[in-house]
Symmetry: C2
Subunit: 506 residues, 2 copies
């Protein structure tokens, strides 16, 4: 019926597995994931051979992951491995042993392919046209220039968090000289990439565990109100502050920095350096963190296997549909409410003067308005607020996400008390006024389809000096719909300065 | 594949419909609901005839509900009607018109049957053995004595919120004399019920919209931290305070009391009076509000149609299984974690000295620990906290519900920051210490089944002076499981005062 995929990614630092399910209706969900910091590349040294101790740890963990995969009755397993194995002289021997011991067959991918998968993970879950993407791994760093949602240039650099730490830093105490040498080396490498300087000013998308750590540290410090890291935005000052924090502390103290994991603390400075240097080098305004990269990219390659470019047409629409299906929403009603809400919005433009972006938010809020019913019918507007914030609708910035969650919360004729000030890091008073304006369209549309069977075919608005006259084209007498919508008469007048009249089209 | 039921309940005050789905796996969910305050009994007067104005309103609404039902492609429709129609002289004519106009065939049920359905709604969703149940409708009041989860006595009294208001009160200003006459009348009626005084001291379960209003008013006042009303507990002082509030205000101000709905404000005093009198009459310590009654009872009659008594064996287990299925949880893993957690709990009893009730909470927390994954894998412990609190696991008191939610939230080796003080109306510091103790068993069990395939068959604990020695019977070498569990060594020692050793059984 459905299809289950496991994707195992064996890096220099960690092994990770994700288990995804593609449902019959085309929706997908992550069922499970696991990670182990096995540090396969440990002690590889200049002779570039994988050592028996880390090899044993790796095989041990892979056996465990194999069990996990079996317990989920997975249909397909995709195993890839990157720089550590790519560079190792004894890689064939190693992969043969892995195959023999675990039955898992690994594909060694190039740095460019790694960047490509990162790109697929990013471009299918962040709504962006042009950017520079960076992934700092343990033993390599991938950089890609994305233009019009396609890869324009890509490079894999032969250094990562582990190697830079080994070559330039000390695991415990980091001196200013060490940092200087490290940064000079990185900048020289950047200078050697001919196309990189042409990408000046583009936003940077950061992928991978190291970069997520930068965001985690910042997020903990400012007490960010959302739990997901995906789409988290930082500027150069914020990144520099985290960099300073990890380079100016001893290992013991570095382990205690909120957001830094203990098993990454020794190499985190080497991992952040390329990102910090890249932002400065390109004079980018923002670093945007992607929670999705390599593994999700491989997932999308399979999920979208019939498409030439393996990218969804519209990140937002694809993701919202996925969420609607997951929560078993009445799709007909959701789309009808969306249609009516947008129709009201479009025909009252001269009153609200809102633009395309606000229209997009209204469209999303209208579609998602009932998802909370999956938790419990009663108070489903509140549950919808929580689910919208936490179900990762891709393709929205965090500010937009919070606005959409409020639209869902306020779609009902019920109180919703959560103050916008709890999210004031992302929205302001003006956004809250926008929410009030947009939510009345959803409220009205919801009442116009109160029987959920599409009685009101379409709406015709005409605006005169004093009033907005709304004519309803309906199959049956829309008396009850009219009574219900008229409850918002006062709110409407307050928001738009005009009376609202509703009639049945004759 | 699945079965959809619509249940329409035509009362004196309101018409309500719920739409339920029974899935193939035996789980169920409410898909939708609607209510309209049509006040069918308005103006019935002494001559006891339904008037044309309210009849028209009713038929109009029923047509609308019919559409709603059709839009959900419902398989079965159950329509029942109670006191208003039961008492009406023109009921046959009315029902014929309804049938002709809407196609809906209503079953007029007796007061006793009404009480029976209320009982089914209550006894399948509240874990209680003995109680008195009361439902104050518009034109009748049902009281039942429940003993050992079965109905022992039942009566339907010929008065409700509408009738008592018409006969004794004024819709606007209520005087002390009016109240005195009203209460004397009610107490006299109670005195006429021979068995009622024998039920002295039993807890009272309140059902229906009027009684929910009492809870809503109290809940708003104290800023109760949960959204659901089901299981809400009040004592006589709290009920009296609400009663005083609604009887001492004019209609205009009564409508403004937070929790009182505008279209119920005129009759609410008449509706609360029987409840307040009953609590005093029986000297009951508590009024427990049931969010479920008549309609849910009809649902359970159908859901459990193969059972003689139409009641589930265990409210809690039935409900938790329902939730596990809804959130598509890995059942094998959930039950295995439960088994291991309970085994640890049972074998360390001399250390923690906790009892059967705590064991029950541990069992629930262990089963639900992964439900949050349905929202998003990352931070699923936080999502699990929200879903546990809001998915109505029946059979738990609210204090127990909050404890279980915390157990779910703390099952992972991750931080969970929500302070127990946000729920201090329901749990105290001591409960929080209990949560810490119980959650370590779930954490350990989760790590012992980290590959989710049941490697650890069972656990053997022996306790000596200094340590708890845990032997694992496993299929494969449990090395990684042991390493993972040992992360909790310190926490374990802190909580139970002993070291913990873990070995593989030889």
């Amino acid at each position: 019926m459905c299809r289950k995929l496991a994707i195992i990614d064996l890096g220099s630092n960690s092994i990770r597995v994700i288990i995804m399910r593609i449902n019959n209706d085309g929706s997908y969900i992550m069922l499970d994931q696991a990670k182990e910091m096995v540090r396969l590349s440990e002690g590889m040294g200049k002779e570039l051979t994988l050592k028996s101790e880390p090899i044993n740890r790796t095989i041990h963990t892979l056996k465990l992951f194999k069990k996990l995969i079996q317990s989920h009755s997975v249909d397909e397993v995709h195993c890839i491995t990157t720089a550590a194995v790519r560079r190792a002289k004894n890689r064939y021997e190693f992969l043969k042993t892995v195959k023999k011991e675990t039955g898992l067959e690994f594909r060694v991918i190039s740095g460019e392919k790694e960047a490509y998968y990162d790109y697929l993970g990013v471009i299918n879950t962040i709504d962006i046209q042009d950017c520079i993407m960076i992934d700092v791994g343990g033993a390599s760093t991938e950089i890609a220039w994305i233009e019009n949602r396609l890869i324009k240039e890509v490079i894999s650099l032969p250094f990562g968090a582990v190697i830079l730490t080994e070559d330039f830093l000390d695991k415990d105490i980091i001196t200013k000289d060490m940092i200087k040498n490290l940064e000079n080396y990185i900048l020289e490498e950047f200078n050697n990439i001919k196309w990189l300087k042409k990408a000046k000013g583009l936003p940077i998308i950061g992928v991978g565990g190291t970069i997520r750590t930068i965001a985690k540290v910042d997020k903990k410090k400012i007490k960010f109100p959302l739990v997901s890291l995906h789409n988290y935005k930082m500027n150069i000052e914020e990144v520099s502050e985290v960099y300073k924090k990890v380079t100016s502390t001893k290992l013991k103290d570095r382990k205690k920095i909120p957001g830094v994991s203990k098993d990454r603390a020794d190499i985190i400075a080497g991992g952040i350096a390329p990102v910090k240097c890249l932002i400065e080098y390109l004079e980018s305004e923002n670093l945007i963190i992607s929670g999705n990269g390599l593994r999700e990219g491989i997932f999308f390659e399979n999920y979208l296997k019939d498409r030439e470019y393996k990218i969804v047409d519209d990140v937002l629409i694809n993701s919202v549909e996925n969420i609607l299906k997951r929560y078993d929403t009445n799709l007909k009603h959701s789309y009808h409410v969306q249609k009516l809400a947008l129709s009201l919005f479009d025909q009252t433009k001269e009153l609200h003067a809102l633009g395309e972006n606000e229209r997009k938010l209204l469209a999303v809020g209208a579609l998602l308005h009932d998802i909370g019913m999956f938790v419990d019918y009663y108070n489903h507007h509140k549950h919808g607020f929580y689910l919208t914030l936490n179900s990762r609708p891709y393709g929205l910035e965090n500010r937009e996400l919070v606005i959409c969650a409020y639209l869902v919360a306020m779609h009902r004729d019920k109180s919703f008390k959560e103050s916008w000030r709890n999210y004031k890091m992302l929205i302001d008073k003006e956004d809250y006024n926008l929410i009030k304006k947009l939510s009345i369209f959803i409220k009205m549309a919801e009442k116009l389809d109160r029987s959920e069977y599409g009685n009101i075919k379409n709406i015709d608005c005409s605006i005169d000096k004093k009033a907005v006259n709304i004519k309803l084209n309906s199959t049956y007498d829309p008396e009850l719909e009219i009574v219900s919508v008229m409850k918002f008469e006062k709110d409407f007048k307050k928001l738009f300065g005009k009376k609202m009249n509703i009639y049945r089209a004759s």
